[in-house]
């Protein structure tokens, strides 16, 4: 009895140390893989840049993004207005900088609403199986039957325009793919021996689902999420462009592109520069998403 307890204590501190070492090694390997992937490094820097711009927007801007100086309408890019001014005399550079906040907020809120929702539904369907599975999956089929943008537009139109409603609308269109993914992962682990052991030890359904199955789904969900970020931003910008997302005077990039449409020929900068910001940011997210997929792929780690 006594010796067994001692062994236990030894084991535990040992295990803890080993676990920490393994974690550090994993992070180190990830870092090496990250550095080797030049495109992902570029993507990461674009996103870091975006986050910094959003965080320090007031320090970077030269003007108030909402300040209308009507005599200075439609000025071309110059040292005073780096990206020129729009039809209401607002400084486009400052608006693009503040737009980074709007874009980031939309992308992350959509991800934080739709991902957990999809995971809960997916794990529940996969774990309980049977009728629960059938109902939840048919439900997700229905949502998947609509092209995402169309569904988001329909919900945005029904809920009324505005950033908040656009976020809800995109999240509604977005969750089923996560539900599908986590269900598949759940099915692949649910019959593993260790789950059976925990079950015989008397763990509740909830405990197994939250503590033992969800963590197994995380890496594929993270991959999907990072690959989805670009699409979310494009959808939000599309909604803004159509007039169903952010409303004036919000400095949202898609809305800004749409504002500049009528001045396209003679004042090209009003439309094109905010659009370029969308392109660069989405590209950054796509590069990073591809990289994350490669890094989390166990096959990559073998060499």
């Amino acid at each position: 009895m006594n010796t067994r307890q001692e062994a236990d204590i030894l084991n535990r501190s040992d295990v803890r140390k080993k676990r920490l070492e393994a974690k550090i090694r994993y992070l180190k390997d990830s870092y090496i893989l990250w550095r080797k992937n030049r495109l992902m490094v570029i993507g990461t820097f674009i996103i870091l840049f975006l986050i910094l711009v959003a965080a320090f927007a007031p320090l970077l801007t030269t003007h108030d993004p909402y300040d209308q100086i009507l005599p200075e309408r439609l000025f071309p890019p110059s040292p005073a207005n780096y990206f020129g001014t729009d039809s209401l005399g607002r400084d486009i550079f400052s608006r693009v900088v503040y737009g980074a906040r709007v874009t980031l907020a939309i992308a992350f809120l959509v991800a934080f609403i739709s991902t957990p929702l999809g995971m809960v539904i997916g794990v529940t369907a996969g774990w309980f199986g049977g009728a629960v599975d059938e109902i939840l999956m048919r439900l997700s089929d229905v949502f998947l039957a609509f092209p995402r943008l169309i569904l988001a537009i329909a919900f945005a139109a029904a809920l009324g325009p505005g950033v908040e409603n656009a976020i809800v609308a995109i999240a509604v269109a977005n969750w089923p793919s996560y539900a599908r993914l986590t269900r598949a992962e759940t099915l692949s682990v649910r019959n593993n021996d260790y789950i059976q052991v925990i079950r015989t030890m008397g763990a509740s359904n909830l405990r197994i689902m939250v503590g033992h199955i969800t963590p197994m789904c995380l890496s594929s969900v993270i991959v999907r999420m990072s690959l989805d970020m670009g699409t979310i931003i494009l959808t939000a910008a599309g909604l803004g462009f159509l007039g169903l997302g952010a409303q004036p005077p919000t400095p949202e990039w898609g809305l800004m592109v749409s504002d500049g449409r009528q001045f396209l020929v003679d004042q090209w900068w009003v439309s094109t520069l905010p659009g370029l910001a969308i392109l660069i940011v989405v590209m950054g997210f796509n590069l990073m998403g591809d990289g994350i997929r490669d890094i989390l792929d166990p096959h990559q780690r073998q060499h």
Partner: protein, 338 residues
């Protein structure tokens, strides 16, 4: 296979009912009171009440839903506020223009995307591979509405290489409407002037839509081609002295194309949604622009009808993709799903 088909058709039916429920739900949450819109802002309370009973808005939700389904079964999608015509008629009128554009874009995407993906895999890490990957990256990252505007700015306003937005020059007469697709109708009418003008008008929007499709196709073909090329039977084919072109086309590409089929199906759905933005930019008189206008003006019947139709097409395309996938790859059997 027949069993799988039956099961798949069963789930499709359930999906269709679900689609109707969602579109019905959308029409319920709209904050705008449809009665106020019909009766006008100054209508007395009694009139509104009478209308409420007339249109059945006083009934419980499930009865309203049942009526809605019944109407749909008769092909009645209601009347559009925008055009004052039945929505079904509008859809039939606007749909061919969208299909024509999306199909052309898909053809462009396939004709450019597949060779590009193959070249990219065969000459891995060469300049052509880099070019193809950058193009794919831009294709998935660029906002279509922005690309459309930029192309219009450069090729229409500045260089004048392509005609103004729209489907046909205003000076030209549309040929007799047979299929609704201008390219086909003009060929039937042997009106080559119209045909050529329609091609020119279609070039930019088809490029914008096509780039999006091309990106996905080139990516998938590249990666599946890389997979296939590293397999033993390709080595065998090379060792036995087959010429490289035959190895690539007959042996490698055939297998590499199976995953491409899936992506092509998905792309078609993507093109339908891309058409909402592209048609808005290029003043293309298709379903996408009709829908975008309907969404903006809360033309409820048009919103519901159009959304439902798009979902219907998307589901059927998905079914075809799944079936062709099973057909192309005999390793996949769908006898039991799990």
């Amino acid at each position: 296979m027949p069993q799988y088909l039956i099961r798949r058709l069963g789930t499709l039916t359930i999906t269709l009912i679900g689609i109707m429920m969602i579109t019905f739900f959308i029409s319920l949450v709209v904050p705008l009171d449809p009665l106020a819109a019909i009766a006008g802002p100054q209508a007395p309370q009694e009139t509104v009440e009478r209308l409420r009973i007339l249109y059945g808005f006083d009934q419980p939700i499930y009865i309203q839903f049942a009526r809605y389904i019944k109407r749909l079964a008769h092909g009645d999608l209601g009347t559009s506020f925008q055009t004052g015509r039945p929505v079904l008629e509008d859809i039939i009128h606007f749909f061919p223009a969208t299909i024509e554009l999306a199909t052309l874009a898909l053809i462009v995407a396939i004709l450019v995307g597949i060779p590009l993906g193959v070249l990219s895999a065969v000459y891995r890490n060469s300049p052509i591979d880099h070019f193809s990957r950058v193009l794919s990256l831009i294709g998935v990252s660029v906002p279509v509405f922005w690309l459309g505007l930029v192309l219009l700015l450069i090729f229409y306003f500045k260089l004048g290489w392509f005609p103004e937005p729209g489907r046909l020059d205003i000076m030209l007469m549309e040929p007799k409407r047979i299929t609704g697709a201008l390219l086909i109708d003009s060929v039937i009418a042997r009106d080559w002037e119209v045909f050529w003008d329609a091609v020119k008008h279609m070039f930019l929007p088809a490029t914008v839509l096509g780039l999006f499709g091309l990106a996905g196709i080139a990516r998938i073909v590249r990666s599946s081609m890389l997979d296939v090329l590293s397999q033993e039977y390709i080595k065998t084919a090379r060792i036995k002295g087959l010429n490289e072109f035959l190895v690539l086309t007959r042996h490698a590409l055939r297998n590499a194309l199976v995953p491409a089929v899936t992506i092509i199906g998905l792309t078609y759905g993507g093109l339908l949604e891309g058409s909402v933005l592209t048609e808005t930019i290029f003043s293309w008189p298709g379903l996408g622009r009709y829908l975008a206008k309907a969404f903006l003006t809360l033309d409820l019947n048009a919103v519901v009808g159009g959304t439902m139709l798009v979902a219907l097409i998307f589901s059927v395309v998905n079914l075809i993709v799944d079936l062709s996938y099973a057909f192309l790859n005999p390793q996949i059997t769908y006898t039991t799903e799990r």
